[in-house]
């Protein structure tokens, strides 16, 4: 299983109990290789957000296994999951989710503050954050706060934050959902560029045009993968 970055078997997520139980995911199998750019698509209610939450280690499956980088993460507790998120996953959300009162560079430094394995000095953190901001073309806006930036710029800060800890996986949840067309393209270009440089990217979207720019499309319907299970 080690050849896959992500290996998911019979993943089930049930909300509620008894007759009211809803199977958001109903036996999902999925493998993603290192360096892939995968788009998870499907209509609303298909379970793609639930899958994204589990793949992003924000949630645990009801049943089934999830190996991330060879490690079974489906049974980890909250604190362990937090550690996985910190080291191995970078999130890009539809609504950016930046700390509104912190500057761009402070937002980007945030994952470095919660690092348990390696302790970085304040100057190291700042250098890494600055580099990440430069990588998304925001080297000159480090001291701006989110409300002083456009939506596209805010999303680029979020990408820099997702990159700063050198994660195995970048999870992008409708990354262009709040953006106009030109800003959207900017973001997609950055994601494609990251992919070319070897990053693994999992993107959730309902826009076919966006999905088309990925390497592989995984289609979800009613909690099951209907297409694109294997890479």
């Amino acid at each position: 299983m080690n050849e896959h970055l992500i290996e998911v078997q019979d993943l089930t997520k049930v909300y509620g109990m008894g007759a009211a139980a809803v199977h958001a995911l109903d036996g999902v199998n999925l493998t993603i290789h290192e360096g892939e750019f995968v788009a998870i698509m499907g209509p609303s209610g298909s379970g793609k957000s639930t899958l994204m939450n589990i793949l992003g280690c924000l949630d645990r499956p009801t049943e089934g296994q999830y190996w991330l980088g060879g490690e079974d993460v489906s049974k980890l507790n909250k604190a362990q999951l937090a550690g996985i998120r910190n080291r191995q996953i970078g999130f890009v959300f539809q609504s950016y989710n930046l700390l509104p009162r912190s500057t761009a560079i402070k937002n980007v430094m945030l994952p470095l503050l919660y690092g348990r394995r390696e302790r970085r000095s304040a100057s190291e953190r700042e250098t890494l954050a600055r580099q990440a901001l430069e990588a998304v073309g925001l080297g000159d806006r480090t001291d701006h706060r989110p409300n002083e930036m456009s939506g596209g710029e805010q999303q680029r800060v979020a990408i820099a934050r997702a990159l700063v800890n050198e994660p195995l996986l970048i999870m992008a949840d409708e990354p262009t959902g709040n953006l106009d067309t030109s800003s959207s393209q900017e973001i997609v270009d950055i994601l494609c560029e990251l992919h070319e440089r070897g990053r693994t990217i999992v993107m959730i979207t309902h826009e076919p045009g966006l999905g088309a720019q990925s390497q592989r499309i995984v289609n979800l319907l009613d909690g099951r993968v209907v297409d694109g299970e294997e890479g």
Partner: protein, 408 residues
């Protein structure tokens, strides 16, 4: 995240809502300041009383008639009580003592000289008075036992009394008229000032026997006296002197060892102990007041922290998404509550110390800032912060990251 970073984050959280944070701290500020000021006043009062008790003289044994402190005692003047002869007998028979003074307030009298008239207390006293009561003689002499035996019409003036009657002139050898009695001034006492409610400088002292004979107030009571002051030679002889005095007075008053005494013997230490019992009760009351105000302050902190957690749910979600563990979130909010209460505590200490000083400056009360009260108040504030901060912090740490990220 290390502690310093956590403190910085907490401080930023507090600084965002300056007014709200200050209002939240106000409860702690008032609580801490109240503790320090009240303890300062109480310590100041104690110190004042201790000074006054010391001002009565040193190594004093006091013998009063009746119960519970002489003139205010239940039986008071109605009992036979103590008399001049008792005082003389103590002086003669009790060992280990420096002197004996029986005192009697003779009466309040109009005192005249050619140039001035004042009203002042005339006190009947005995020769050992200056030594036993710790009042120095400024000029001339105090009256002697001979003066008492002969009932010599002599007087010793208190410092202020001498000033008022004679100004800069030398009063020694001058005549004064107290009531209808002409007295010759033989001495002037040095300044002593107020001891308790008594102004030692505003007095005229006459031989006790003269007081008995010639001044109306004391004449009604024959040769009875209110209090006999005995000065022990040292701290070590107090105990044995008390035993001797008790035995002697019982013999003189025809009382067996089993009978209830018609006199009370007590020392300065006894007064201090009584005083301490009172202040201990006062202090425990203060502790309650302080505890309640800190409790209220703590509830205020808990309240605002709960509001803060709700308001910042999304921030919590973001932090969780980038890798903050429940313990990180808990620590962040706990430190925030702690910083609120400690800053409140610091301001409270400043207000308390300043307030104590101001209070001491602007009122008659003396205040002493006690280091213990600062530590106690500050420590309590910290404890309150941790105690009341824990529940909101724990609640924040248990938030589900998905829910928190969705929170608007």
């Amino acid at each position: 995240m290390n502690l310093w970073q956590t403190i910085q984050v907490a401080w930023e959280g507090i600084a965002i809502n300056k007014v709200r944070s200050f209002l939240t701290m106000l409860g702690i500020i008032i609580g801490v300041a109240a503790v320090i000021i009240m303890m300062g006043v109480s310590a100041g009062t104690e110190a004042t009383i201790a000074d006054q008790i010391a001002g009565l003289g040193s190594n004093l044994i006091m013998v009063s008639r009746g119960f519970g402190g002489g003139e205010h005692g239940g039986r008071g003047f109605e009992t036979e009580g103590l008399n001049y002869e008792d005082a003389l007998a103590i002086g003669e028979h009790v060992s280990g003592i420096n002197g004996v003074v029986a005192e009697q307030i003779a009466s309040s009298q109009i005192v005249r000289v050619d140039s001035a008239t004042i009203e002042t207390d005339v006190i009947g006293a005995m020769p050992d008075f200056p030594e036993v009561r710790g009042v120095e003689l400024a000029d001339g002499r105090f009256f002697s036992q001979q003066d008492l035996d002969r009932k010599a019409k002599v007087a010793v003036l208190g410092y202020s009394t001498a000033q008022e009657l004679f100004g800069d002139a030398d009063p020694i050898g001058q005549s004064i008229t107290a009531g209808s009695v002409r007295l010759t001034v033989v001495g002037v006492m040095d300044e002593k000032g107020l001891v308790g409610q008594t102004d030692y400088d505003q007095r005229v002292y006459v031989p006790l026997t003269v007081a008995f004979d010639r001044f109306s107030f004391s004449r009604r009571f024959g040769d009875r006296v209110m209090t006999i002051y005995v000065q022990a030679e040292s701290q070590d002889t107090i105990e044995s002197a008390i035993t001797q005095i008790d035995a002697l007075l019982r013999r003189r008053h025809d009382l067996t060892a089993m009978d209830e005494a018609d006199f009370t013997i007590y020392t300065q230490e006894d007064i201090i102990e009584t005083q301490e019992a009172t202040t201990a009760a006062f202090r425990s009351l203060l502790a309650w007041v302080a505890g309640v105000s800190l409790l209220v302050g703590g509830i205020g902190i808990m309240n605002i922290m709960l509001v803060s957690v709700t308001e910042r749910t999304r921030e919590i979600g973001i932090r969780q998404a980038v890798g903050a563990a429940p313990s990180d979130i808990r620590l962040q909010f706990l430190v925030e509550a702690l910083v609120l209460s400690l800053v409140g505590g610091l301001i409270g200490v400043a207000v308390g110390v300043g307030g104590s000083w101001l209070f001491g400056q602007t009122s008659d009360m003396r205040t002493v800032v006690v280091l213990n009260s600062i530590l106690l108040a500050f420590g309590s504030a910290a404890g309150v912060g941790i105690f009341f901060g824990f529940y909101p912090a724990n609640r924040a740490s248990q938030l589900d990251p998905i829910e928190a990220l969705r929170h608007e």
